[in-house]
């Protein structure tokens, strides 16, 4: 994939550092920091019932455009989003990071994750694979697309109100 890296200026180390940062901002409920990662044409998608559903016709757990991401963040920041107030204690591991392809200005990246969520209900593990589209913006990298396919996407899920 060295050709890919040269073409886009995103090397695997940079990509990993970005994914780790995004994960930490989500884990630590740094809502403003997390929201600032997104591009204006953002899409944040958590499918339900498998990874090949049509989000324009089928239910998804989350299917947020940039506008709805903003609403979600604003709701969390009211402090009265009870499903995250008090917030879950979270830590996630990101691994198996691969640069999948380059499409125009976007680098498509895949990675596995495991999130451990602790709240009064108990401890819940969330695992899956995420597809990211990353785009260089000046010195920064921005997130244009995040699709989170849960290994449990076909099962009944507990409330998932933190940023996955």
């Amino acid at each position: 994939m060295s050709g890919v890296a040269a073409q886009t200026g995103l090397d695997i180390r940079e990509v990993e550092q970005f994914l780790y940062r995004e994960a930490r901002l989500a884990d630590e409920h740094d809502y403003d920091g997390w929201e600032a990662l997104w591009t204006d044409d953002a899409l944040y998608w958590v499918p339900a019932g498998g990874d090949d559903t049509d989000p324009e016709r089928q239910m998804s757990v989350i299917y947020d455009n940039r506008n709805r991401i903003a609403t979600r963040i604003k709701q969390l920041k009211t402090g009265k989003r009870y499903a995250q107030s008090p917030p879950s204690n979270l830590r996630r591991l990101i691994s198996n990071v691969e640069i999948v392809t380059v499409e125009g200005t976007d680098t498509v990246v895949g990675a596995n994750f495991l999130v451990v969520e602790s709240r009064e209900r108990g401890t819940t593990m969330w695992a899956g694979r995420t597809t990211y589209r990353l785009r260089r913006a000046g010195d920064d990298i921005r997130l244009a697309y995040k699709k989170v396919v849960l290994v449990d996407s076909a099962q009944a899920l507990f409330t998932l109100a933190f940023l996955i």
Binding site: A48, G49, R57, M59, A156, F158, T159
Partner: protein, 414 residues
């Protein structure tokens, strides 16, 4: 154990043990879930002959099928040989099911087709065994209901006045039919199923539990349930109830019930006006119902919920978007708004679910033992059709639920 339900369920309070007692839960399965009419799905989920989809009625694993004659059956997912599951896929299309264990085969109506090495049974056609069938299956406005009791009230009798609310949903479609074809979110909560049902009927909580999303979106939903609202809570009898928001919607423009305007869905509005003439105005203003159909079907305008109990303190709430046949312009919006609102990450339902779970933990405290359901009892009145109604945020619906629940739990067991 003999539980005295008349002591636990009183006109203005119900006992905390109703949400935590394992024996009561076991008795509910027998007297409610495996007896009365329970909603399991919609005919549009098995649109073509051979379509099937797996469903749950409490712990019962049921396959909803459509035969080549178009008949919808509910089969128990249990092989007549030694009880293996005969269907592993969640959905698909097949006229037959073949048990993977020893290869017995069945038609999608449940009749046995055959068994391998048939000499072991003295030849072909010697066994009169088939898949179990839910004894009574009936549909209303395409909703498929199951009753495990061989006899009892008909679906029509069970639905009573709630049927009119499902009619009101269907008439929003230019073809008079809704479809539930968007797939289901399955939302798990560590809470007794009745806390979900009660919350669905509760017009008191929205301002508080959903204040966060109302404030950031400027939604008018909160005011529909405020102290100044002219909306009413109606006990429809049979444990069914509705939050009738029409008195508020009637003060608004057509399509405002859906938070939109005519100008944004011009094709839909034109179709409805062409179809219904003058009556279209009323349909487009009054919008969709907000009705809890005992014990597990909840229609909240644009979302359809089916509640399924897993354990005394665990419930799965299935939810999907209403889709109106013949209204693609509406369906995209219905789906998008539904996804934003419901399910595990929904901006409304995640907070409801948080409340169910905190409520479940709360009721395990030893005192004061009771949950109060008297809100608005002193100001209840009877409407022109003889139904008991209360203010928008009164607990009239909950009281209706409990009185029917009590009659089922106290009546003769079947």
């Amino acid at each position: 154990m003999t539980v005295q339900y008349s002591e636990l369920i009183q006109p203005e309070r119900v006992h905390g043990s109703l949400y935590t007692d394992q024996d009561i839960f076991a008795e509910e399965l027998q007297r409610i879930w495996y007896r009365t009419w329970v909603c399991v799905g919609h005919v549009s989920e098995v649109a073509r002959p051979g379509d099937y989809v797996r469903k749950k009625v409490a712990s019962q694993d049921v396959i909803m099928t459509r035969s080549k004659d178009g008949e919808v059956s509910l089969l128990l997912n249990r092989c007549a040989h030694r009880g293996n599951l005969v269907c592993e896929d969640q959905r698909g299309n097949s006229s037959t099911f073949r048990c993977p264990y020893h290869g017995w085969t069945y038609r999608n109506t449940g009749e046995m087709l055959g068994y391998p090495y048939n000499q072991g049974y003295g030849g072909k056609g010697k066994l009169s065994l088939g898949l179990g069938r839910v004894p009574r299956v009936d549909t209303y406005q395409g909703f498929v209901f199951a009753s495990f009791a061989a006899d009892g009230p008909s679906l029509k009798e069970h639905l009573g006045a709630a049927a009119g609310e499902l009619d009101r949903l269907a008439r929003l479609s230019p073809e008079g039919e809704i479809e539930l074809t968007a797939g289901w979110l399955q939302h798990r909560a560590k809470a007794n199923w009745k806390l979900l049902v009660e919350n669905e009927t509760d017009g008191y909580h929205p301002q508080f539990v959903h204040g966060s999303v109302f404030s950031v979106t400027g939604s008018h939903i909160g005011t529909l349930y405020s102290d100044k609202s002219t909306a009413v809570t109606r006990d429809l009898g049979g444990g069914h109830s509705e939050n009738d928001l029409r008195p508020e919607f009637r003060k608004m423009e057509p399509m405002n019930w859906f938070g939109t305007s005519e100008a944004r869905v011009p094709d839909y509005v034109a179709k409805m006006r062409a179809l219904h003439g003058e009556q279209a105005e009323e349909i487009l203003i009054e919008g969709a119902p907000h009705v809890m159909v005992f014990p597990n079907l909840f229609v909240a305008e644009i979302s359809v919920f089916m509640i399924n109990p897993v354990a005394v303190d665990e419930t799965v709430q299935n939810v999907t978007a209403v889709q109106l046949k013949g209204a693609p312009e509406m369906n995209r919006r219905l789906l998008s708004q539904c996804i934003g609102s419901v399910g595990p990450a929904g901006m409304l339902l995640a907070d409801d679910s948080e409340m169910y779970e905190r409520n479940q933990r709360g009721v395990t405290a030893r005192v004061p033992e009771w949950l109060d359901i008297r809100r608005g009892a002193h100001r209840e009145r009877v409407d022109e059709n003889g139904f008991r109604i209360g203010a928008a945020n009164d607990e009239t619906g909950m009281r209706g639920f409990w009185s029917h629940y009590r009659s089922l739990m106290e009546g003769e067991a079947q």
